[in-house]
Amino acid sequence: MSSSSDSSREGESSKWLDAHYDPVAGLNSLSSCIALADLHGDGEYKMVVGDLGSGPYNMKLKVFKGTSLLSENALLDMPTAVVAFLMDQNEPRTPAVAVASGPFIFVYKNLRPYFKFTLPALEVNALEKEVWDQAKEDRIDPLTLKEMLEGIRDKAEIPLSVRSLRFLMLDPQEMDAFVNTYKQVPLKRQTVITCMATLKKNMADEDAVCCLVIGTESGEIFILDPEAFTILTRVSLPSVPTLLDVNGQYDIEYRVTVACRNGNVYILRRDSKRPKYSIELSAQVVGLVRVQKNIIIGTSQETLHGYSQKGKRLWTVTLPASIMTMSLLEHKSRSIQAVLVGLKNLEVHLYRDKNLLSVISTPDIVTSLCFGRYGREDDTLIMTTKGGGLIIKILKRTAQFEEKDTSSGPPIGQSIKLNVPKKTKLYVDQTLRERENAVAMHRVFQMDLYRLRLNAARAYVKALDASLTPVSSTMQEPLTLNAIVQGIGPRFKLILNLQNTSQNRPSMQLLISFLYDERLYQLKPAFFKVPLLVPGLNYPIETFIDCCSDKGISDIIKVFVLKEGKSTPLITAHISMPVSEGLVAA
């Protein structure tokens, strides 16, 4: 228990009390897997967490009371959602806990397993069934079975069952055993639950009976009867639902807002067999919360959008980091509704419409958020972190949320001073001189420029005549050459990088020759052929140069690239050899 407030912000420590922080609680959970409920009917609310465990193991349903763990139930499969709901009118009004995992909903009452609901099986492809029936009677061998199933997979509109898909993956030697194990079992196709929420049946009261609303991998929404667990409504969606938000009452009017994997949000109403409105977003939806009549959508592009319930965009806020999770904050006594957004930069932001109300700094990345009555306190915020920690904060009775806009005052750019250089007296004197002698200055400069042009042209023609440049841009042979010398001597390594710069003309029959002082340097092959130069590729050609002088003298070596049959070089490079340090030392 940490009673000292570690948040540096003065404003935030005046709003939230740090009730509990356990960094090693070992809770790996998501916002959809946390529920708060008065499980024993004693007015003390408990927290039910579907713990995802570490990897595929240790999935547990944990119940917390206050700061301590009350009970643990092992789960068979990964929980996708946990909700607490009232099933019936019986007294005492203790809620049941529904855990969705795989194709099942496990219902717990008094923290004991009570009922298991299984989703109805999907239709099986008739051809597939026939093929498996044949396999059962041993009329076809596994290899033919595989061929036939592949044929069905490619053209059938009803997809194959999990068993057939698994079979198609297997190696030939494993097939026999697989067929023998499973051929007697009837073929069926199951879907799994992806999300779950509750919907009040016919009263809006706190303790009204709730229906379960579930979304499945087959792209359907089911509404289940709370007592009999029969399917009341079944709606098909164009994609797989991932996030659900439900409001209203089943018997009167309700709205189901569903975020799907195709990045769209659909709004269903009572008696509509298909989505009534659709919101198309440019990115994946990571959080969906309804605040009064608006839908707040968090996307993977670090933005928060507000939509009306008819799917019209009202506002957009850009967040400083990517969204980890979102949840609703409902302050009942003061009727404040706002959205809590857990961000990757160790902050939890609280937004009412597009106004940032409060920022909570957390010691770790928050992966799940839940606000509500916990224990005996109405306004409790429960957060679990990426490292498995549990943070509980309590909103102060006296906390005030003032409306303030996120962008306050002029932009920061306005207060930055421009870096304009200063001018001294020297500059002023120079301008005076220019004003007095402008004509003479112009004339002299123009004369000098003529001379410069003449000299430059002369030097250039001279270089062209002697092919001294390391770049040739003639139409026949566009080449570039550069040379690098490595080493400290007496042996140097010379690397010539030769490249053909034409679009599609390879260079052939080129030769390289070196000109050097034979008293100073020794090159083993001082003359060799160049391979065919493919346009665009760089050819490093390496040779070794030995310095044979012991006087520490250096000289220039010239490299010529020549065309076979012509005596004028195409291009030339001059290499200033460094002093051979090896011999100097010796």
């Binding site: 009730a19 509990h20 206050g66 301590s68 006594s333 005996r376 306190e377 309590i394 102060k396």
Partner: protein
């Protein structure tokens, strides 16, 4: 002697009436403690959450206490400050098994101590670390640490562990309170 003594107390000590505020979070056991301090024939059997506040009276050997038993529910806590002026002593009850809300109790205590009507008066505060009988309850030392009671420098205070159901620890606390009030009067 007995008759005279009784007459004297009836005439003289009757005036020594003290107003006490009984504060604390909801479900901490304020009403139960007050009920237990009353004479055996005046005690009620079933205790329900207090709505608003109630006025109770009980007597010790030399003082007559009038207790404002306030409701500790969040929505009634803003009523507390209306009675601060009348209070000559404060009984603050803490549920020592509710670790989660210890910060809330601390917060309410701080607000109480910083209130204009309380801040500059030297009134005794008696803390009851109640529900000592529960298995997961904190000791009175731990409770005083969590509430940072050592920071209260300008008021006499005392914490005692209590069990409101059995009445254990209540007498010790009330005796201390009586001593403090008498010391202040003289």
């Amino acid at each position: 002697m007995g008759l005279f003594d009784r007459l004297a107390s009836w005439l003289g000590l009757k005036k020594k009436e003290v107003h006490v505020l009984c504060l604390g979070l909801d479900n901490s056991g304020k009403t139960t403690i007050i009920n237990k301090l009353k004479p055996a024939n005046a005690q009620t059997q079933d205790i329900v959450p207090t709505i608003g506040f109630s006025i109770e009276k009980f007597k010790t050997s030399s003082l007559s206490f009038t207790v404002f038993d306030m409701s500790g529910q969040g929505r009634y806590r803003n009523l507390w400050e209306h009675y601060y002026k009348e209070g000559q002593a404060i009984i603050f009850v803490i549920d020592s098994s509710d670790k989660l809300r210890m910060v809330v109790a601390k917060e309410e205590l701080e607000t109480l101590l910083n209130h204009a009507d309380i801040k500059h008066r030297r009134i005794p505060i008696l803390f009851f670390a109640n529900k000592m009988d529960l298995r997961d309850s904190l000791s009175s030392v731990k409770v005083s640490q969590l509430l940072c009671l050592e920071n209260i420098k300008d008021k006499p205070w005392h914490i005692c562990a209590s069990d409101g159901l059995k009445g254990e620890g209540l007498q010790e606390g009330v005796d201390w309170l009586q001593d403090q009030i008498q010391a202040m009067k003289t």
